[in-house]
């Protein structure tokens, strides 16, 4: 989502069709005529990693804060305030979104997958295995967003070249690894997923 379309939505409630990259909401947001429940708050229900999380929230609440605060899932990180770093990437209806650039109310009715929903320590997703095996992380702070963006990348292109991986992840910053091992990690995961598939 572009900076200005998010500004429009926040400032003037513009609900005009957004850019192609936006996932289609699974359920329509509440119509504008519906009165807010109380104090200007709106009811929101989002399926996160298969569990329904419902709350009444301010319309301005960012999806990433809903995930971290209301759903208490802190695996998704926040690294900037200009939608540049990609630390907060989650899957919304299967599409990678920067959850700092989505309002929780926009994700009403959606199915969201965060790093916690991808795999567990006992049952790692091939991408998690790949990052572990190839030393694709150091401090780990960019890792959840990096892995979720990689998931969307491989869903769209199961057999990417290193160059395609680099371009596919240019919206995700890492200050520790220099990206060399992140590319190797995604390649390894792609190999593994091909075997599995």
């Amino acid at each position: 989502m572009s900076f200005w379309s998010s500004v429009r939505r926040i400032l003037i409630g513009d609900e005009s069709p957004s850019e192609a990259e936006q996932p289609a909401p699974a359920a329509a947001p509440p119509p504008a005529s519906e009165p807010p429940s109380h104090n200007g708050k709106l009811p929101v229900s989002i399926s996160i990693n298969g569990s329904e999380v419902s709350d009444t929230v301010e319309p301005r609440l960012l999806l990433v804060h809903f995930i971290r605060e209301n759903a208490s899932l802190t695996g998704t990180k926040i690294g900037c305030d200009t939608s540049q770093c990609g630390l907060c990437v989650v899957l919304e209806n299967g599409v990678a979104v920067k959850s700092c650039t989505r309002l929780a109310v926009q994700a009403n009715g959606a199915e969201v997958t965060t790093i916690e929903g991808l795999g567990s320590a006992g049952e790692l997703h091939p991408l998690q295995e790949g990052f572990w095996n190839k030393h694709g992380l150091q401090c780990g702070y960019c890792t959840p967003g990096m892995i979720m963006a990689s998931k969307a990348l491989l869903d769209a292109n199961p057999d990417p070249t290193p160059d395609e991986i680099r371009h596919g992840l240019e919206g995700n910053m890492c200050r520790c690894t220099g990206y060399t091992n992140i590319v190797r990690a995604v390649q390894a995961a792609a190999e593994e997923m091909k075997k599995g598939g």
Binding site: L61, C80, C139, I147
Partner: protein, 784 residues
């Protein structure tokens, strides 16, 4: 039982990772305590202004707000933020640095007030309802300009904004520069950089009235220093303060300093009696977390006509920002000026460094800290010399490199390098890239109008900080030793605790490798604890590529103490003399009778139950050790970069990068390569994209990741990391340190490559970052 597998020097996967790749680990901002409130800072929008009045009533009445505090509230309660590196013989000035400004602000981002509210949203909402009446003052941002007569004055007690003037000199510099055969000079601007650890800084403070205890969860690289300085600033006794660095998301030096924000968060918790959390936004990080570099350097190199270097001298104007950050004065002096000889035989060298206040964010140690700036100027002058003499720069380097040594090499600036074999990595790097082939390729490319460049550097750096006696002598207000404890449980599991505080470097894994090999337990039976002042021994923290070198040595000494005790117990149980006991793969046995052995697990059980101990021996199998290194360590290496420059657009693309680093003995080569790759890309940033830019009024124009160019995955190649291994003679494991080598070498290597590409245009210098616009302009100007 005991394992026979030697795990040292193997690239095993990191044990840190499972919790990090599943989102389960907790960083400071992930923590939530019952009743916790949220703090947000009001920061000065002006670079230099007097505060005439502050009206907080609008904010106090805003929804969810619990309290608003200003400098009037903290004055007399919080002490000033101390500068802890008081470089001697430099006439250092340390003006007062109040955590919250009271009468004057000195940079955009200086804290003016804090709001505490029931949510982050409410706290930030309320900031806009604080009215501050500022009297705007003239500002100065360039350190050289700030030193001139008539420049705006930041601190009343610091004439000409001169924080210090420091000189280091070795050899007969005047003679070297008295009509040398060859003299090359350059003005180098090493621009201001923003560290940008991906995790913004955060602090969570909990004060308990009934006990008087303060617990501070903090994004710090050095929890023991943070406890010490929290005590200094808040007045709470150190024994009442517990600092916890939970998972920390990168630091690169920016999380060494003690910041106002930590002290303010503690203050808020103490005032309100509830836990208070503060987390910076990235925009705040850009203006209120330290910056790095900011050097203007006038450099001269003297040489003979055959390319033998006879002298190097530089005058440096180093920007300190509005105040002196915790370690700031030491960075452009001790960590910079003493490294002017590089890996070369330079018989005379001089550094004259002015530390200067300006209306900018304070600077401090940023990955490499002084050494990238030193390596840059030495290696740039070598290229200039080569150009002047029309010699291959590699040939100049070879001519001047110090010959192989393993028992110390004294340089004229007073340091003693521990061990070095500087030609080995150079040979390896040149072979890896086929240097002769590249030069041939370059020639034919130029004939076809294409512009590729090859950049080389050879470097040595100082790390493994360092001998505490030296630290004291150079004004560092602390020690630089490390403590480690080891406990072996009745079932033979091992728990070690270290005073340093890794945050991505992987020492939970590498230190477990060290312990496993030393006493022969399985690596998975070793737990490494760090980051909590309550359960770790004293240590000075993780920075300066010192954790493996210093903390690792302390750990090695501790585990060897346990092993000595185990040997004594084994002798007792085997009814043999201790000198007849041999050890192998975790088992102690009488020489010649390996079948009848006591394993470390057998001994751990006996030591812990203490049913049958040697006469007079204390029970338990635990030890503590402290390691104060006898010298610094000096990693070195040679890097090569290959770039392609599009002369029509000025675009530079980094085609290939080969790093050959010698960090001594490697515990885990996979982690070494990871450190190098990350470091190289971090050093590439300033060459091509990064740079903090202020306008003349002191407004930070590059105040977000939109405006400040960080390296992304699609603009860098795979970094090829090779190595040579020259042990450090003075270290128990022979290790040196690798955290900063990549950054120290890569900036100048890539810069040299671009200048090499631009040689046909006669372009010898462009100030970094080398953006397409600047490169295109330089090419265009040269074409007339």
């Amino acid at each position: 039982m005991a394992t026979a597998t030697r795990i040292f020097s193997s690239g095993i996967r990191r044990r840190e990772d499972p919790r990090l790749i599943t989102g389960g680990s907790k960083y400071t901002d992930d923590l939530k305590l019952p009743g916790m409130l949220h703090a947000a800072m009001l920061r000065s929008p002006h670079a230099h202004a007097n505060i005439l009045s502050i009206n907080t009533s609008g904010a106090s009445d805003a929804p969810g707000v619990v309290a608003v505090f200003t400098g009037q509230d903290t004055q007399g309660v919080l002490n000033g933020l101390p500068c802890a590196w008081l470089v001697p013989d430099s006439d250092l000035k340390t003006p007062e640095h109040p955590p919250i400004a009271t009468d004057r602000v000195r940079y955009v981002g200086d804290a003016v007030a804090v709001v505490v509210a029931d949510s982050r949203y409410h706290a930030e909402d309320a900031l806009q309802h604080i009215d501050v009446d500022y009297e705007i003052l003239p500002a100065v941002v360039n350190p050289e300009a700030a030193l001139q007569d008539g420049a705006p004055q930041l601190h009343d007690d610091v004439p000409n904004n001169e924080a210090f003037r420091w000189v280091a000199e070795g050899g007969d510099v005047d003679a070297a520069f008295d009509s040398p055969e060859v003299l090359v000079s350059e003005r180098i601007v090493h621009q201001r950089l923003v560290p940008n650890a991906m995790e913004p800084r955060s602090a969570l403070a909990q004060w308990t009235e009934a006990t008087g205890d303060v617990t501070l969860w903090s994004t710090t690289q050095n929890p023991h220093i943070a406890r010490f300085l929290t005590s200094v600033v808040t007045g709470v006794g150190e024994h009442k303060i517990r600092v916890i660095a939970p998972e920390v998301g990168g630091g690169f030096g920016s999380k060494i300093p003690y910041y106002a924000d930590e002290a303010i968060t503690v203050f808020c918790s103490m005032r309100l009696g509830v836990p208070v959390k503060w987390t910076e936004t990235r925009s705040e990080n850009f203006m209120a977390t330290i910056h790095g570099r900011d050097h203007v350097q006038d450099v001269e190199m003297a040489a003979t006509g055959d390319g033998t270097i006879t002298g190097l001298r530089a005058t440096v104007y180093a920007g300190m920002g509005g105040y002196l950050s915790t370690a700031a004065p030491g960075v452009p002096t001790i960590l910079h000026g003493l490294m002017y000889c590089g890996p070369y035989n330079i018989p005379a060298a001089r550094a004259e460094v002015y530390g200067v206040f300006s209306n900018t964010t304070p600077t401090d140690a940023y990955r490499g800290a002084g050494r990238p700036e030193a390596t840059f100027l030495v290696e740039r002058m070598i290229e200039k010399l080569a150009g002047h003499l029309d010699m291959d720069p590699v040939e100049i380097r070879r001519k001047n490199l110090v010959a192989k040594f393993d028992d110390g090499h004294d340089i004229v600036l007073g340091l003693t390098y521990d061990s070095g074999d500087y030609e080995a990595p150079l040979d390896k790097a040149l072979e890896a890239v086929d240097y002769a082939g590249l030069r041939a390729e370059q020639e034919s490319a130029r004939a076809e109008g294409r512009h590729m460049g090859v950049g080389v550097s050879t470097y040595v750096e100082i790390c493994g900080l360092g001998p505490s006696q030296v630290a004291g002598a150079v004004g560092f207000q602390g020690g630089l030793w490390e403590g480690a404890t080891i406990k072996v449980t009745p079932t033979g599991k091992v728990s070690v605790a270290i005073g340093s505080s890794p945050h991505g470097q992987g020492e939970e894994t590498t230190f477990a490798q060290v312990v496993a090999d030393e006493i022969g337990v399985d690596v998975d039976d070793v737990e490494v604890l760090h980051g909590d002042t309550d359960n770790t021994p004293m240590g000075w923290g993780t920075y300066g590529s010192r954790t493996t070198a210093v903390s690792g040595a302390a750990l090695t000494l501790a585990v060897r103490k346990v092993k000595d005790k185990a040997r004594t117990i084994a002798a007792h149980l085997l009814e043999a003399a201790e000198e007849d006991i041999e050890y192998g793969d975790g088992r102690f046995f009488v020489r010649g009778s390996p079948d009848s052995a006591q394993s470390i697990q057998d001994i751990a059980l006996m030591a812990n139950v203490a049913w049958n101990m040697p006469e007079g021996m204390e029970p338990g199998l635990e030890a503590q050790a402290f390691y104060d290194p006898p010298n610094f360590s000096y990693p070195f290496g040679a890097h090569v970069a290959i770039v392609d420059v599009d002369a029509d657009t000025g675009h530079v693309s980094l085609r290939r990068y080969v790093a050959v680093d010698d960090c001594g003995i490697q515990i885990n080569p996979m982690i070494v390569e990871g450190q190098v790759s990350g470091g190289v890309v971090q050093g590439a940033g300033p060459v091509l994209w990064e740079g903090a830019v202020y306008d003349d009024d002191g407004q930070l124009l590059t105040g977000s990741m939109l405006d400040y160019g960080m390296p992304r995955a699609d603009v860098v190649p795979d970094i090829e990391s090779l190595s040579t291994e020259t042990p450090s003679g003075h270290h128990p494991l022979g290790v040196k340190g690798v955290g900063e080598t990549g950054t120290i070498a890569s900036t100048i290597t890539i810069y040299n490559a671009v200048m090499d590409a631009l040689k046909p245009f006669g372009v010898e210098k462009i100030d970094m970052p080398l953006t397409p616009q600047k490169v295109w302009s330089a090419i265009n100007e040269s074409r007339g």
